[in-house]
């Protein structure tokens, strides 16, 4: 088959099984857009801002496990995409981002709309390429998809100069089915000796704790993980990125850990004697003060990226490998042992954890005349039967969703954890909805975050993507306001949003349905009404209590045992020791 560079790009995407490309045209990619126009297999979703394209592709990837694909023009197209690329990079999400570039003879001449896309994106991609010859296009694209999706996934940028896609020059094309890269061979199988050592340690534990993260989801290993945890009967905590890897409604789940995790999860971390870390990267929002992190524990750490191991915290038994393989091997090894976990010790440990649980750290005022944001999320959980795909933006609303929506399945909770990108939620929801047209998809957001990519309401209309937007409108950058209240003596410097739009009218002007809800008793009805409108995007503007804070909280630089509970939280139960 003889194809032009532009046709190779499109034909390759088709051969690679790409359903959707999220993009925005411009001079440097017009040849590719012309090739897209002449076929129907690869569907192009036209966003309203390149950041939206990257987030939508990212949402698609998080909801499916398949790589998200983006196409943008050179210069401002590429720079607008950077925030979304960095977002995917921090959370290890597979994306392939095609950026147009000025023609090769102009590179380096400050040509019109020229930026060094490879240079700009280098620190926030897994890898990137500049394709200088059309003969290299197909293989480079194959490498890009392979690198993005294998090992620890991540975004890969392919920068394509305009002359490389010239429609008038044709060369032979064959889809490269496989690719080998001599310098890139991720380790997927865990070392058998290390697995034995880990199992030894796991069986010796008297106060064990399983701490798992996004790696379990990325590895499609929820089933193996659940089996492993159930076989042991040990408590499970998950990071923000791991939610859904283990059913939140299960008794063994003690909630999220970290800055806004549960009291029981963090106290158990502080007191555990063996920590089993699986596909989690000891982020500072999780560890708190590293010097006081799990002071009594010996640590097993399973991660596919050797650089994640012993980066922030020293570990005793490192295992490099794919979570899915390693867990299967560990469960097999466990079953082959005669020794069982110490039942009596475990019983006492659970009793202690249940005392912590008894503090009921997530309680909030249920009698308020104002809408409490937590209440909205509880109702959202009820109304959607706990079965929706929920995306979120960044702020207090994100934390409340993580705390109050009980995710029982992986890939249902879609949020920007590592970069914390406001503006992520709504475009991500569009990507999710395209991937799962029959599923219920909602975006929980705040009035500040939603305005960072509000223009994508127009994309939602163009492609008829009936997501539901749950805006927890507290008229504040709530998360910023909370820090200012706690740490800056309530000096609310630039965290109040004046001149907010009328979100109902705004939604209507884009052709959607808008609802404003101001009273607690109207919350459930509005949600039911909105989710009943199967084919409409509904923007639910919940006017919530402005002063609500996210609890519990570990202030930055504090240890897990220094968690602060909400002022109204239940006093310690009798018998519970105060901890050092």
């Amino acid at each position: 088959m003889e194809l032009s560079g532009a046709e190779i790009v499109v034909q390759f995407l088709k051969d690679e099984g790409v359903e959707y490309v999220f993009g925005y045209p411009g001079g440097a990619v017009l040849h590719i857009y012309d090739a897209l126009f002449q076929q129907d297999d690869v569907r192009h979703i036209l966003v309203r801002h390149e950041q939206g394209a990257t987030h939508a592709a990212d949402g698609y990837a998080r909801a499916t496990g398949k790589p998200g694909v983006v196409l943008v023009t050179s210069g401002p197209g590429a720079t607008n995409a950077v925030t979304g690329i960095a977002t995917a990079y921090m959370d290890s999400i597979p994306l392939v981002v095609l950026t147009g570039q000025v023609p090769t003879p102009f590179i380096g001449s400050d040509a019109f709309q020229e930026v060094d896309a490879v240079g700009i994106t280098r620190p926030c991609v897994k890898h990137n390429f500049l394709v200088k010859r059309r003969e290299d296009l197909a293989l480079t694209l194959k490498k890009a998809f392979y690198i993005a999706t294998s090992g620890r996934p991540g975004p890969v940028v392919v920068d394509i100069p305009k002359d490389v896609t010239d429609p008038n020059v044709r060369i032979p094309y064959e889809y490269p089915r496989e690719v080998k890269i001599r310098s890139y061979n991720p380790v997927v199988k865990g070392h058998p000796g290390q697995i034995k050592k880990a199992v030894d340690l796991i069986l010796q534990a008297r106060r064990p704790m399983i701490y798992a993260g996004g790696g379990v989801i990325l590895s499609e290993a929820s089933a193996e993980f659940t089996e492993f945890a159930r076989a042991l009967g040990y408590p499970v905590t998950l990071t923000l990125m791991g939610l859904g890897a283990y059913p939140a409604t299960d008794r063994q789940f003690v909630g999220m850990l970290g800055m806004h995790g549960t009291y029981e999860a963090n106290m158990a971390m502080h007191e555990c004697d063996v920590l089993i870390a699986i596909g989690a990267r000891f982020d500072d929002r999780v560890t708190g003060k590293v010097a006081e992190f799990c002071p009594h524990a010996r640590i097993v750490h399973v991660d596919i990226d050797p650089a994640s191991i012993a980066k922030n915290v020293k570990v005793d038994v490192p295992i490099v490998g794919d979570v899915k393989n390693v867990l299967a091997d560990m469960t097999r090894e466990l079953r082959a042992r005669k020794q069982q976990p110490d039942g009596e010790a475990l019983k006492q440990w659970w009793a202690r954890i249940d005392e912590w649980r008894g503090r009921n750290c997530l309680q909030y005022d249920r009698h308020s005349k104002l809408i409490k944001p937590q209440f909205v999320i509880e109702k959202l959980y009820e109304v959607t039967g706990g079965d929706a795909y929920i995306t979120s933006d960044v702020g207090q609303h994100q934390m409340w969703t993580a705390q109050f929506y009980k995710f029982d399945q992986p890939r249902r909770w879609i949020n920007s954890g590592g970069l914390g990108t406001m503006g992520f939620g709504m475009p991500a929801a569009l990507g999710v909805k395209l991937a799962h047209p029959d599923a219920t998809v909602a975006c929980v957001t705040g009035e500040a975050s939603i305005q960072m990519c509000i223009q994508e309401l127009s994309t939602a209309m163009q492609y008829m993507l009936p997501i539901k937007i749950v805006n927890l409108n507290n008229r504040y950058m709530g998360m910023v306001r909370q820090w200012q209240e706690f740490f800056y003596e309530s000096r609310y410097s630039h965290s109040y949003l004046e001149a907010l739009p009328d979100f109902v009218k705004l939604a209507e002007s884009y052709g959607h349905v808008g609802l404003r809800i101001e009273k607690p008793e109207d919350v459930e009805g509005a949600l039911r009404e909105a989710f009943g409108m199967k084919d409409r995007l509904v923007f639910l503007d919940f006017i919530t209590d402005q002063t609500e804070n996210v609890y519990p909280m570990i202030a930055q630089g504090k240890g897990h045992h220094e968690m602060e509970l909400a002022p109204h939280c239940t006093a310690p139960q009798s018998g519970e020791r105060e901890l050092a």
Partner: protein, 164 residues
Amino acid sequence: MRHIISLLMENEAGALSRVAGLFSARGYNIESLTVAPTEDPSLSRMTLVTTGSEEIIEQITKQLNKLIDVVKLVDLTEGAHIERELMLIKLRAPDAERRAEIKRLADIFRGRIIDVTDSTYTIELTGDGDKLDAFIGAVGEGAIIETVRTGASGIARGTRSLHL
């Protein structure tokens, strides 16, 4: 601790900037860095001299290994190794007395005089960094017009080697 890390990487445009970018982005020290193609033109060999605690050096080697363009890597400091650096140094040599003295020092340090004018000598000298420093000390700073040092390159002693 000072470490000499040797790596083989794809001889591709941009590979060097990935390494340099990694060091600046993660705040690692970099004392010197040399790079040139090997007998296999598809590969470059880089020698990096860096300092840091054991934990930092471990992260540096892991992060370097993680770069897609890096094919293989070894921390030479972990075993016996040889380290060499080349220095070209231009010295003031205005009179017979100075010229004789420089010649004598060059002989002691096994350097070679590679260029001469009526007022200067240019000397080529190889060795480890300490030896080059010692030579600079011996000639005295006042005598120096210009120095060029390549930064260290290194190779393991014995049969151990870094190759594909």
